[in-house]
Amino acid sequence: MIMNLYLGIDIGSVSTDAALLDSQKKLRAYSIVKSGFDHQIAVKEVIGDICRKAGITPEQIRRTVATGYGRRNVSGAYKTVTEITCHAMGTHFLSPDVRTVIDIGGQDSKVIRINEYGYAETFYMNDKCAAGTGRFLEVMAQAMGIGIEVLGLAALTAKKAEPISSTCTVFAESEVISKIAEGKPREAIIAGIHQAIGERLRGMVSAVGMRPPLALTGGVAKNQCMQSVLKNLLQTDIFIPEEPQIVGALGAAIFAADSVS
């Protein structure tokens, strides 16, 4: 039997995320799986996982909306919506006062200014460049020989940040390697890497013009050092969702629910 459940699926370059809302727009469950090479498999996996968590079957979902760069690979989706619109709406749902969203994804970053209804007013996106993205952190973590998940924590222990002048991933990697060779403290170099991303994002924020309150979404938002760097650079408190990685999927689920009402 079809239930009033609404699914949002966000297929990103790194992860495929799903959020399930009920008719009261209450979050029933969410899931995050790796996108991999085959989006159809990732979609199947994420739907299976979220249904298991919610204790339902896929047939009971009333409507699905897809977002993310692989959104066209969700067969059976009622419609597709861009990730900028979904991130804006998802953030608005969690914190209606937020007016600027910084979304740091695996392959791109976006700064979105949103209005009082949760719609994107304007946005700025980095393109053709991994600087200021999750990929940048991943490459740096590899260069430092440290796991990406502990990168932020390691940086927080630094007494000072070792400046990384290049924001280009390739150049920054060689700069990091040079600094390791010079014997600079590892945590100082990692803090410098975060600082470099923060500077890059600050530039993007100023391009659209920051209007507080501000929120940070995407997988990198879980990184505590990144949170702290941005807070210092932008001189403002930042709202971090409990699970920042599912904000796009949540926005898509809201559009699914709204499409019925």
């Binding site: 760069y69 919506v81 861009t82 990730e83 900028i84 619109t85 791109d108 200014r113 719609y119 994107a120 007013e121 304007t122 946005f123 700025y124 996106m125 393109d127 053709k128 391009a207 659209v208 013009g209």
Partner: protein, 397 residues
């Protein structure tokens, strides 16, 4: 000498004749003749930057090759792959732009011969001037430089007029006179009058006008003063007025700012189709409204440069705002050329203006000449977002 460019120009001119766009064919045929003169007949030419007045060069018996136009042709036909990366390896100035890089390659690959001289202005782009200077130093060629004042005033008009007069006098010593100033003035004014008529027409009938045609023909600015430019423009105007309205209905109207990726000018058509919108105006096809007079030839040319919509960000912004109102535009797209210090610096102000007008604004970043710097996937994503906003927005104008 490589004749690929010549062949492409010939083919494209003949194609436009076959589809009845005789004005476009005539424009391309002129460029073909020019190229033939300098390649096969070894006629001397001056390589010039965009704002060197065409009228001034039209006075002399020397061909004028405008760097940006020929780089544009080469880009549109993808004559040379990866121009930026390739130019970097052959003594190209580090901060030069891709237009200059491509022109540099056209010279080094012997697609066009070495010029007799370079003529450059430091407006709109100082890099173009620096590039021309470096080429002249490398090849021991004469370099004609016009220094454009940074502010507009009567005094600055006089200063720039003196600079232009000096350029004219220097050219007099090097090349024979081909046309009297009064003939050049007459042709220029005639062309300007048609151009103004065209702009008035497209303001009145935006749905009938293809913006991409205006973008293709804006380099006619460099041909003001040539005897056949008014006829080409008349042909374009005639074609516009005779074309039946395609019946676009009540779809959102969009302004296109900046240039267009030359290797992908179908982008505008694609945007109109995918976004269910009509691009009603671009800002390049506007040569100003300063008519020339024989008595004040040089001051008038100076005034035209200093009153150009692009001379200050304020004048450009005011003009965009007026166009938003005139056309009832519901969205703005700005194509920002990579590494360009001319138009993109105004983007934050345009973005702010669009926000105040409650209309969506999109900045597409890339390189008009080098496809390697245009991220099609990112552009597609941003455009899709723009369409969503466009069909949701309620402008307050």
């Amino acid at each position: 000498m490589d004749h690929t460019l010549l062949a492409k120009l010939d083919l494209t001119a003949r194609y436009h004749t076959s589809i009845g766009q005789h004005y476009m064919a005539a424009y391309l045929q002129n460029q073909y003749n020019l190229l033939k003169n300098i390649t096969e007949k070894q006629k001397q030419y001056i390589a010039a930057t965009y704002y060197i007045p065409g009228e001034l060069l039209a006075c002399f018996d020397v061909e004028a090759v405008f760097l940006e136009r020929f780089a544009g042709f080469a880009a549109a036909w993808r004559l040379l792959d990866h121009p930026v990366a390739r130019a970097d390896t052959i003594e190209f100035p580090a901060d030069g732009c891709s237009y200059q890089a491509l022109f540099h390659l056209l010279l080094t690959e012997k697609i066009i011969p070495k010029p007799a001289a370079f003529a450059a202005m430091n407006f709109a782009c100082r890099n173009a001037w620096q590039y021309c200077k470096s080429e002249t130093q490398r090849h021991y060629l004469p370099f004609f430089h016009v220094d454009v004042p940074r502010v507009f005033s009567q005094r600055q008009i006089c200063i720039l007029a003196d600079e232009l007069q000096t350029l004219y006098n220097r050219l007099c010593k090097m090349f024979p006179i081909k046309a009297e100033i009064q003939d050049v003035v007459h042709a220029s004014n005639e062309a300007l009058a048609v151009q103004q008529e065209m702009n008035a027409y497209r303001r009145a009938h935006p749905e009938k006008c293809s913006t991409i045609d205006f973008l293709k023909l804006f380099p006619l600015y460099n041909d003001l003063g040539k005897p056949d430019t008014p006829d080409i423009l008349q042909g374009f105007l005639k074609r516009l007025t005779e074309t039946a309205a395609p019946g676009t209905g009540n779809i959102p109207r969009v302004l296109w700012l900046g240039i267009v990726p030359l290797y992908k000018n179908s982008l505008l058509t694609k945007i109109e189709k995918q976004g269910h919108c009509k691009i009603v105006w671009e800002e390049m096809f506007d040569f100003g409204n300063i008519k020339l007079s024989c008595d004040s030839f040089f001051p008038d040319l100076a005034k035209r440069i200093l009153t150009s919509r692009f001379f200050t960000q304020e004048s450009r912004l005011a003009d965009i705002l007026q166009s938003v109102k005139d056309f009832g535009a519901q969205g703005i797209i700005h194509f920002s050329q990579r590494n360009c210090r001319f138009l993109p610096p105004a983007v934050p102000l345009i973005r702010q203006m669009a926000q105040e007008l409650h209309i969506p604004f999109l900045e597409l970043r890339g390189d008009a000449v080098d496809p390697g710097y245009f991220d099609e996937q990112a552009a597609a994503m941003q455009l899709e977002q723009f369409y969503e906003q466009l069909h949701r927005s309620t402008p307050c104008i």
